[in-house]
């Protein structure tokens, strides 16, 4: 990378037409997706997408244009379009935008991996997925099975008018399986492993060795059968333990999104909502209990959002967001960081070459505590343990929420009891995180990948990650 040397033409042309800031981003994305369902091949697809984008500031406003055709003519037209758009924006905007400072660098980064997923024969992958399906067919009642794997390689090159030149070669991988019993539309069950989205990392084909599928898949199949005759989830206030996978979703929805600084400033009001965590609360809001510290860290190895530079050329580093329960920082890009007098936390990311970078959730880590799951359970007289997220909704201010899991178990007098179906819980973000009184230790800590975070217009799908262990919450509304 770069694939070609036209980037300097793009930057020069934008400058010549009046841009005071310009960056050029070119991406070459290769994706391979395989899935099997009910014993048949469902999909085997390889896709390629190449293109470039030019983002400018002219007359103090943003303009952005992108094209899939990369040649001198399209570069000139795209640069002209971007500048023309910026000047149209400036007809409305009364004040010129400013960006937080960042270092000008020349650098390259590549995801470390153990096994190149694109070098593994397709036949081996198909056989692996078929074997996962067979592992779940433990009983004739199991009449729905599926398994998937996806590998994505994104080669990207970023160049800016002020001199940065950054190449990154990112490998992402996902894998998972699910099964169920379908007796009728209203009488059915489903279980997934490791989560309904599978698990996702930056890395290679080694993802398939991260889990004990041989033991775990028959277990979830058994649970799918048990769910059909499981009790309904109780509807009352109870103590709650969330599995790490559900804590991950809770972090994503009620820590990650509320702390996106563009959302805080209302940029997403009409589409993705706003945030209660306004900047007047920075440094004082008791967001969570004392034992909870949340860190944004896209340097953490293997996270689905592990990268070296964001799409504005800002280097990633570890930033504490919530320190022992207190809000201390936001997820930001250069524009929004400048508005609070801080430096960007390197969260400006675009789904692909055709998308403009916006503030996205990186790897967010809830630092591990000291408890084991058994210790958390033993401290509950009447409660519920829920895993495997399958339902979520949170209000436009990121406060009131309701989330649910595929399966739960009652906790009675310090012991796990009967299975319950369709467990759901609801609450208010700040009250909920402040009710947390136990955090799982590092043995149970997992960096969960989320492959389908949606935000922005046009809708941009982003891959994020949340690192966490199971947590215990007191007096939560269940059902």
């Amino acid at each position: 990378m770069p694939i070609n040397d036209l980037y300097s033409l793009a930057l020069d042309e934008a400058s010549r037409l009046g841009a005071t800031y310009a960056d050029y981003r070119e991406e070459d994305i290769t994706e391979q997706s395989l899935s099997v369902s009910d014993g048949s091949p469902e999909l085997l697809n390889k896709s390629f997408s190449t293109g470039f984008a030019i983002r400018v500031i002219a007359d103090g406003a943003w303009g952005f244009a992108a094209d899939s055709i990369i040649n001198e003519d399209s570069i000139r037209k795209t640069a002209a379009t971007a500048v023309e758009i910026a000047k149209a924006s400036a007809r409305i905007n009364k004040s010129a935008l400013e960006l937080a400072e960042r270092q000008v660098v020349e650098d390259a980064y590549a995801t470390p991996f153990k096994k190149d997923p694109f070098a593994v024969p397709l036949s081996e992958k198909i056989e692996f997925l078929s074997e996962l399906e067979r592992m779940m067919r433990i009983d004739s009642q199991i009449n729905s099975t599926s398994a998937f794997m996806t590998f994505i390689r994104t080669q990207k090159f970023y160049a800016s008018l002020d001199g940065s030149r950054i190449s990154q070669d990112i490998y992402q991988a996902g894998c998972g399986a699910s099964c169920g019993v379908i007796r009728s539309h209203r009488d059915r069950s489903e279980r997934s492993f490791p989560t309904p989205n599978g698990q996702w990392i930056t890395g290679g084909y080694e993802i398939i060795n991260m889990f004990d599928f041989k033991n775990e898949l028959p277990r979830i199949a058994q649970e799918a059968i048990q769910l059909l005759s499981a009790k309904e989830c109780p509807q009352k206030e109870l103590d709650l333990i969330l599995g790490g996978d559900l804590v991950s979703l809770q972090i994503h929805e009620s820590v990650g999104h509320p702390l996106e600084l563009d959302r805080v400033f209302g940029y997403e009001r009409n589409f993705s909502g706003v945030s209660f965590a306004t900047t007047d609360k920075l440094g004082s809001l008791k967001y969570a209990s004392d034992m909870l510290t949340f860190v944004a860290d896209s340097t953490y190895p293997g996270g689905l959002a592990t990268y070296a530079y964001d799409d504005e050329g800002v280097k990633t580093e570890r930033n504490i967001l919530i320190d022992k329960g207190v809000l201390v920082n936001y997820l930001s890009d250069r524009e929004t960081a400048h508005r609070i007098g801080k430096k960007s936390t390197a969260c400006a990311r675009a789904e692909g070459w055709m998308n403009t970078p916006i503030v996205r959730i990186p790897n967010i880590l809830l630092l591990p505590g000291e408890s084991t799951l058994d210790e958390m359970i033993s401290g509950i007289d009447d409660g519920i343990y829920v895993i495997s997220p399958n339902s979520w909704s949170i209000d436009d201010n990121r406060e009131g929420f309701t989330l649910g899991g595929e399966v739960g178990w009652e906790i009675k007098n310090g012991r796990l009891g009967d299975m319950v179906k369709s467990p759901r819980y609801s609450g208010n973000t700040v009250d909920f995180w402040n009710s947390c009184d136990a955090v799982g230790n590092s043995d149970s800590w997992v960096l969960w990948g989320t492959p389908n975070c949606g935000k922005g217009q046009p809708g941009q799908n982003m891959r994020t990650a949340q690192g966490c262990s199971p947590c215990r919450f007191r007096k939560v509304k269940i059902g």
């Binding site: 997706s33 697809n45 390889k46 896709s47 209660f276 403009t356 009131g400 309701t402």
Partner: protein
Amino acid sequence: MPEKLEILSRDYILSTFKKALEFSEADQTEIVLESEKLSLTRFADSKITQNLTTADNKVVVRTIEGNRIGVSVSNSLDLESIKRALKAAREISSVQTPDEQFVSLPQSPPALPVKAYYESTANYSPVNRAEAIGKINDVGQKNNLLSSGAYRITTDRAAVLNSLGTEQFFEGTKAELSLTLSGDNENSGYAIGYNRDVEKIDPTALAEKAADKAVNSVNPIKLESGPYTVILEPSAVGQMVLLFSFLGFGCKTFISQRSFMSGKIGQQIVGNNITLIENPYHERMQGMPFGFEGVPRQKVYLIENGIARGVVWNSYYANIAGEKSTGHAHPAYKTFSPYPGNLVMGEGNSSVEEMIASTERGIYITHFWYVNYLNPMRTMVTGTTLDGTFLIENGKLTRPIVNMRMAQSIQEMLQSCSMISAEKQLYPQYSVVMLLPYLKVENFNLAAEEA
């Protein structure tokens, strides 16, 4: 003047695809184009925060060897790139497990022509969009409100050619203006306009509609949880109907028994005043007249007077079930169930004014926020009201209320519609366009939110 990025001509696309088909040595070959030129201006706090134009193509190649299927996707439209995609697809189909249920690619006649392309929309420039946002800001300023939203202009092209002689091409434009006007007291109002022809969208009228709601939403009262009579604007109806459609109207969910339609064809499943039709040919819909296998789309009665009538099919699942494709295939790289893309709900004979006047105590809902499934088996969804929720007392809108969270079965909602408006509005959501009336619904479950 229009933005400078250009899209390739119909003649180039068709002739290139035909050459690529001649090159293919697979038993059967299909080449599909999904192309979009997108121009979009986003605004917030009455300023433009994002403004862009992009152009991209997806060329989806599907090759068949016996009953082994390979798929490859490229975004390059030149012949050499398509040949590379053909090679990649054939490499896949050579090792793929045979799909015993696959019969053949379809052989289809030309689809009916639909007027969906408007020069007015295709040429709508960044300056035009900025001027529209200026008009919205003017309304906001008069009412001491800030504006946010997005003005989205697209030119879509689709083509399907296969080695059995199928050849389809479509070009259409879309204009969508979504806006929120908000004040200092957490008061807000929302409006949305959609049309193939941008000249049919009136930014000032939409802004005034949103402003009226925002101005009247100051100092809301909190209501108790419970079942309420509600009047839903078409946007709110659309959010519910869309999830209902995803749950039940696709062939894949239908034949796997996951659909509320499974085993119910011919039976009453919702109120007898409810009719839902997939109809790309409706004069206000102007939908794409074929699916991504090239099969002409059919008008499909999904629910007629409350009775389950049918679902939409692609050729693969139609072959399995002994049905005929209704022309609703997705491109081959998508595995989720086909679904209707042009949903038309049957109208009633009421007006929204009559609905309000006939309501002793109820709630008027503009739209919902973050609607998601709670229990798909019972068509249960949740989400909160937003941007204009009002109490109705003794036949009049009386005061704003604090947003509430619904937990509602959509099927039960459609069993409880007491009035349906004659007026209908177009409402786009994701890739689906719906034409929907206002609904008055009894016993709609709303709860005080935890915020």
